[in-house]
């Protein structure tokens, strides 16, 4: 099975965030970066599928040159080779732009299965995988908790997470695209041998086909104003309590 995993490099989760001067993105000039966590689970799932069914795992990432850090990390964990769609314009791009960039580089590879994380830790739209499926003309399923490949290798049975503890099983033909939920498996560590082997693996760098941002743009990014208003309710306790309930119900709307 020829499996693609799309990974994104994001600013480390606990990096203290500040808006950049342009107010279009966070200041990330000397931020520390890491692999988007849901994508790490997608990678692990791909490696496990390859261990069970054979084939190849290809890492695909769209972003500026710094994303080679997470590409190498993925290769060190066991991916076979990588495709890097390189453009500085991709560092803050939205789902549509990223998906189009990836689709352009992935189309000719004819993957049997494409995995992405459910969403990114920075923008969090949860759309890149879905739009990518559309661009590649593949059926897709989202929020995947379990993946079974049919014995004949021609279709999948997958478990989706729904609301309130409900799950859904569905089948779909291959080739297909799945967006993977975090926590679906236990991540492995990169080994010394894996890191050494990664150096010899191929990273194919391709330019972005259509470099201007599509679809949506970030207009402004700001830290929410912290507004804390305290109101005192005077009067005897029983009346004050009634008033408190009324306010909670009618103004705060929490009851």
């Amino acid at each position: 099975m020829k499996i693609a995993v799309c990974i994104k490099q994001v600013v480390t989760r606990d990096w203290p965030l500040r808006a950049a001067e342009s107010a279009k993105w966070v200041r990330d000039d000397d931020a520390s970066f890491e692999m988007n966590e849901p994508d790490a689970y997608a990678l692990e799932e791909a490696l496990r599928l390859k261990e069970r069914h054979g084939g190849e795992v290809v890492v695909c990432s769209a972003g500026p040159s710094r994303v080679s850090q997470v590409i190498r990390e993925a290769l060190a964990r066991g991916a076979d080779r990588a495709v890097h769609v390189a453009s500085d314009a991709l560092s803050t791009a939205g789902a549509d732009t990223v998906a189009s960039a990836l689709a352009g580089a992935m189309r000719d590879e004819s993957f049997d299965l494409v995995l992405t994380g459910l969403q990114s830790d920075d923008q969090g739209f949860g759309q890149t995988g879905v739009v990518l499926a559309e661009r590649l003309g593949l059926p897709h399923a989202t929020i995947i908790m379990e993946v079974d490949v049919a014995a004949d290798g021609g279709s999948l049975r997958v478990k989706r997470e729904l609301e309130s503890g409900w799950f859904q099983w569905l089948s779909l033909p291959l080739p297909a695209l799945l967006t993977i939920q975090s926590g679906i498996n236990q991540l492995r560590y990169a080994t010394l041998r894996g890191i050494m082997a990664a150096k010899r693996k191929e990273i194919r760098t391709v330019p972005m086909e259509n470099a201007e941002a599509r679809g949506q743009r970030i207009l402004e990014l700001y830290v929410p104003e912290k507004a804390s208003a305290t109101r005192f309710i005077d009067g005897p306790a029983p009346e004050a309590a009634r008033e408190l309930v009324r306010l909670l119900r009618e103004e705060a709307r929490v009851l």
Binding site: D14, R18, D30, K199
Partner: protein
């Protein structure tokens, strides 16, 4: 599960300036000398090279220029030459400028840098030169054959807080090396065991240390011109305490603001974190920082003992370099160039030894000769007694430092006698002779001054929570019985990251020690300064720790 092994010719433990300089030099030697190239690898516990190191930093580029004459063309991030040096003596309200900057503190020709960025860049150069740099792997024990060091075992990964294997368990790897170069930094965990096993510090002065605490600030550009260097003495320290503050200006309104406090203070209630906050509240500093924003925080110990405290740095199969050995000039407040220089010497010696198939201590003692006869001794020997002279207080220290410029550091007793810093801490009743006064606290406004926990957040520190504590306290009963009475648990003050807390015991009365190991910024102060010497700092799972990007 079987333990992997990996064989290399030279293993460098620690990807800081010393270790990476050694690795780069080895790669160059491979190229210059031809023949079968030596296989060289670097182990680094941080997730990325440079993420666990912390320095001011003003860089003397002499060693770098020799290691890599074309560093400019290779894009070394040394973009800000020092433009002026100022030094002040601070009283509580005033800043008295020194009329002349003492020669050791003149920084003409040096560069204000982010050491994190320099080392990250150096790591890239080392990798490009063909060296394997393994980040995220800690060296947890030395491997021996008899008394010869034959490599390092890396830490197991995937152990839970109870010591049980998690499903992703990955055993540590035995990396076997002909020569192991220990560049594990100040109070390095492997160097510490090596020194202990072979008494490498026999006949040497005890190493003394300081703790450096630093914040990066973004302020109005133009408030302090990039390349400005300010050092201070005095407030908030008393004459009996060693240390001082620094402010270095980087481009675009970024300031490195820090404070160094000797880890040899007598007052058991002294608190380096509070001293740093008080330093920032001094008008000289507060005016520079007003309206600015603190963007990063970190802390790290540094070796201050100087020439007489450097242990024997060669044994069968291993060499010690950089801060791990104590190559730091505390009079010039500089160690990066000496660390790099020692790494280069070690590389030269290791290369020759592997080629000659003789890695005995006798052969490796060539390293000691290079240190003795080269620029390291030339720089460190004349100031060999300077740090020790401050044991009598600031004034005798300054007097001696000034004098030593003329006398070449001579003193009636050479080495000037000294004690390990933790032995100088007095017990409460000795120091205060009665009930101690309220310690000089500091208001925390979260604009200029910060509490430890807020600061730790800005260090980017992260550890997998589900792992055993990497701070081993041999006897926690001492904390709640003796220490609480004798010293009032100084760990809660000298740790800059709120790792140690004394909390109410779960059942019954009394107190107990709580260790918040995941806060640890790997500064090593606790291992150094604990008065009972019962804290052992061992590396946590590889990759854990602070994230000093830009520091």
């Amino acid at each position: 599960m079987e333990r992997e092994t990996l064989d290399v010719d030279v293993l460098v433990v620690g990807g800081g300036p010393a270790g990476l300089a050694a690795a780069y030099r080895l790669a160059r030697l491979n190229e210059e000398r031809g023949g079968e190239p030596l296989m060289v690898a670097v182990l680094e516990k941080a997730r990325a090279a440079g993420a666990h190191l912390l320095s001011g930093a003003v860089l003397d580029p002499s060693a770098l220029s020799e290691l890599m004459p074309d560093w400019k063309d290779r894009g070394a991030p040394l973009d800000v030459p020092v433009r002026d040096d100022r030094i002040y003596f601070l009283t509580a309200r005033r800043a008295l400028p020194f009329p002349v900057t003492p020669p050791p503190l003149r920084n003409h020709g040096h560069h204000v840098v982010s050491l994190n960025r320099v080392v990250k860049w150096l790591g890239e150069q080392v990798e490009a030169a063909g060296v394997d740099v393994f980040t995220g792997f800690s060296g947890t024990e030395l491997l021996y054959e008899g008394d010869r060091v034959v490599g390092v075992r890396t830490g197991d990964r995937g152990i839970d807080r109870h010591g049980e294997r998690k499903s992703a368990f990955e055993p540590g790897v035995d990396i076997r090396a002909r020569v192991t170069v220990l560049a594990d930094g100040v109070r390095g965990n492997l160097t510490k065991t090596l020194i202990g096993r072979f008494d490498l510090d026999a006949g040497r002065s005890p190493q003394s240390y300081a703790i450096g605490i630093k914040e990066l600030w973004d302020v109005d550009p133009g408030r302090l011109a990039a390349g400005s260097v300010i050092h201070t003495m005095g407030h908030p320290l008393r004459f009996e305490e060693f240390g001082g503050g620094f402010i270095y200006a980087l481009p675009a309104g970024r300031l490195a603001v820090g404070f160094v406090a000797g880890l040899d203070y007598r007052d058991p209630l002294f608190d380096p974190h509070v001293a740093f906050q008080r330093f920032k509240r001094h008008p000289l500093v507060a005016n520079l920082l007003a309206g600015g924003q603190m963007v990063r925080y970190g802390a790290k110990a540094l070796p201050e003992g100087g020439w007489h405290a450097i242990p024997r740095c060669h044994v069968d199969g291993a060499l010690i370099v950089g801060d791990a050995a104590g190559f730091l000039n505390s009079m010039r407040l500089k160690g990066i160039h000496l660390a790099m220089r020692s790494g280069m010497h070690a590389a030269d010696v290791a290369f020759g030894a592997v080629r000659a198939n003789d890695v005995s201590a006798r052969r490796l003692s060539e390293y000691a000769r290079l240190v003795e006869e080269g620029p390291i001794r030339r720089e460190l020997y004349p100031v060999r007694n300077v740090h020790q002279s401050f044991a009598g207080g600031l004034l005798p220290g300054l007097l001696f430092s000034g004098m030593s410029l003329l006398t070449g550091g001579w003193w009636f007793r050479d080495p000037m006698p000294s004690h390990a810093g933790h032995e100088r801490t007095r017990r409460i009743e000795q120091y205060y002779r009665g009930a101690p006064p309220e310690p000089p606290g500091v208001p925390i406004d979260r604009a200029l001054t910060f509490d430890r926990l807020t600061n730790v957040h800005y260090s980017g520190t992260r550890h997998d929570e589900d792992q055993p504590s990497h701070l081993l306290v041999a006897d926690t009963d001492i904390c709640r019985t003796r220490c609480i009475e004798e010293y009032r648990n100084p760990c809660t003050r000298f740790c800059p990251a709120n790792v140690y807390e004394i909390v109410d015991a779960d059942a019954g009365e009394g107190k107990r020690l709580q260790i918040n190991a995941s806060n640890c910024v790997h500064c090593k102060t606790c291992d150094i300064m604990d008065p009972y010497q019962i804290i052992d700092w061992v590396p946590p799972e590889g990759g854990g720790g602070p994230s000093y990007e830009g520091m």
